[in-house]
Every structure is written in C-alpha cells, then in structure tokens.
C-alpha cells in the first residue's frame, strides 16, 4: 500500500539548457498574468502543478527549493509563490538519505541531481507517514536518459543497501524519472 502517487519536482535550477519545472512554472504564470504566449515547457509545468491534486497526485519539493522560494518569492514574486506553494509539500530527507546520495553520486550524477534522486527514495512528508515518491518530474532530458541507463544497477545497489534494514526502509525503492508530459 503506497497511497496516492507522489511526485517530486526536480531541483530548483539547472545549469543546462533545460529549465526546471519550478522555474518554468514561475515564468509561465508571470507570463500568463501579462497575456504572453507560453512556451511548451511553461504550459507543461503549469498544468502539472495545477491539475495534480484533482488527479489524485501529491506534489513535493526539496527543502532547499522551498527555502529559496520563501526567502525570495515572498518579497518579489508573491503571486507566483502563493499559487505554487499552496499546491506543493516539502519532502524531507530520512535516515539513510546521505548514504544513498553518496552512492548515487558515485555513478557520476551531479551532487544536486544525486540529492534529488536520493530524496525520492529516502524522503518523507511533514508527518513522517510516507517513504519515497513514485516519480521525479523534470524537464532535464539528459537526466531522464542517464537515469534509464543507470536504473538497473542502482536498483541492485539499493536492494543490497536496504535488505537488512528495519521497516519501512527495507522496502525502499527507486523512483521513475519522467518528463511532465509522461505523467
């Protein structure tokens, strides 16, 4: 029993050409309010966020991204922040997060990506009632492809790491990493 499908939005900013779902959401809602035509990615990000609850999904964000939005968004983009934060929850690292993040990092994922991917397996909500999310949602296509290549090996590694742990960690699994349009 895993409850409603849980989605973790990718890290807040990317140094690649692809934008993050969060950034595209902010740019898209700002553009909508000003009557601008939206890019595909902006549309995808907005639809992903606004339809999640109605479709039975829970959306999560890392604490780093949440803190950034609280610190900067409250003062300078309050409308976009308000619209966004009322639709997402924070996912907190659990025990074994650091151990798993180090192992993901060894597979040449960037530190930021390794943290998001590890959080998706060893992350919980405010009340500690869940472990992990079902999917990481990103606009970073290279990350999606890299995860597909590494997934089998990492699944083996996570099984080896968790097989002697207590409940619920013994059941920890890897997420799928997908584009918004594949959700």
């Amino acid at each position: 029993m895993s409850g409603p499908t849980r989605l973790l939005l990718d890290k807040h900013a990317l140094s690649t050409a692809e934008g993050s779902v969060v950034r595209r959401y902010f740019e898209g809602t700002g553009g909508l309010a000003r009557g601008l035509a939206l890019t595909d990615e902006e549309q995808q990000a907005i639809l992903l966020v606004h339809l999640a609850r109605g479709k039975g999904y829970r959306l999560f964000l890392s604490t780093e991204a949440h803190n950034l939005l609280l610190a900067h968004g409250r003062q300078v983009a309050p409308t976009e922040m308000l619209m966004f934060l009322k639709r997402v929850e924070v996912l907190y690292p659990t025990r074994y997060f650091k151990r798993w993040a180090r192992r993901v990092r060894q597979r040449t994922f960037s530190r930021e990506d390794a943290k998001v991917l590890a959080l998706a397996t060893f992350g919980t909500d405010e009340t500690g009632d869940v472990l992990g999310v079902h999917r990481v949602v990103t606009l970073d296509r290279p990350l999606v492809r890299k995860w597909e290549r590494e997934q089998e090996l990492l699944a083996q590694r996570v099984r080896e790491m968790t097989e002697h742990l207590a409940m619920p960690f013994v059941l920890a699994t890897l997420p799928r990493v997908q584009l918004p349009e594949d959700i």
Partner: protein, 133 residues
Amino acid sequence: MLEAAVIQEQRGLWIEERLLQQARLGGRCRVVIGEQEIRILPVTVEPTRFPYSISGEMAQAVLTEVRGEAFALYGHAIPPADQPYFGGMTWREYQALSDTQRAAVWDRLYAQYDVEIEAVEERDVRPNALVAG
C-alpha cells in the same frame, strides 16, 4: 533597435538574435508583411502531449483558469513591467535575459540554500509509513 535591425534592398531584413531572444520569439515566429509594416509574431504551437494525458482543449481551459487566478491575485490588472520580480530584478529586466542567463540567476540563488550531502539533516519516519512502489 536601429543598430540591431538592418534593412538592405538586396539582402532583406536582418535582426540580431539577442533581440529575438528578448522578445521571447525564439525559433517559433511568423512574419506578417503589411502595407506599411512588417510584424514578427510568435507562433503558438501547442504541445502534442500534456501531463495526465489531458486533451488540448482541457489544457487550454486550465491555463485560462490559471490566468484568471494570477490576474485576480494581481488585483485584476496587468502587473507593471517595472515591478520587482525575481533575483533582484524587475519583470522587464528578467525578460531581457536569455534563457541561459535566467538559469544562471536561479542557479546563483539556489546555491545560497544548497548544502553538502554530509550536512543534510535526516529525519526518521514511522515504521508503518507508506512506501512508494
């Protein structure tokens, strides 16, 4: 603009790439030639697939709702372009940046809140927590 857009009788109309980026036209625009003007307009191309497998009609309906929500929160007026927006910039200044420059702004801000893996604080969960999978 005069320095960036060049019209020559034999070569046609040339516009610097940075101006097209600032106008958010990207590679998707169409040229409309009128009697006394040339307009370069964005082409709205809908994605072929949407999250949750919704239809294009539903997507547009939701985006209209979102626009209404944003518009209401902005006091039913188009927010001024010189209003503070993000990263210490106004909306106008932010819009003038290329996508790479915008990403750099978000990267810089994110870095202020990013922490090393070893410095992350870990929480415990309930033994009967719902496990994804």
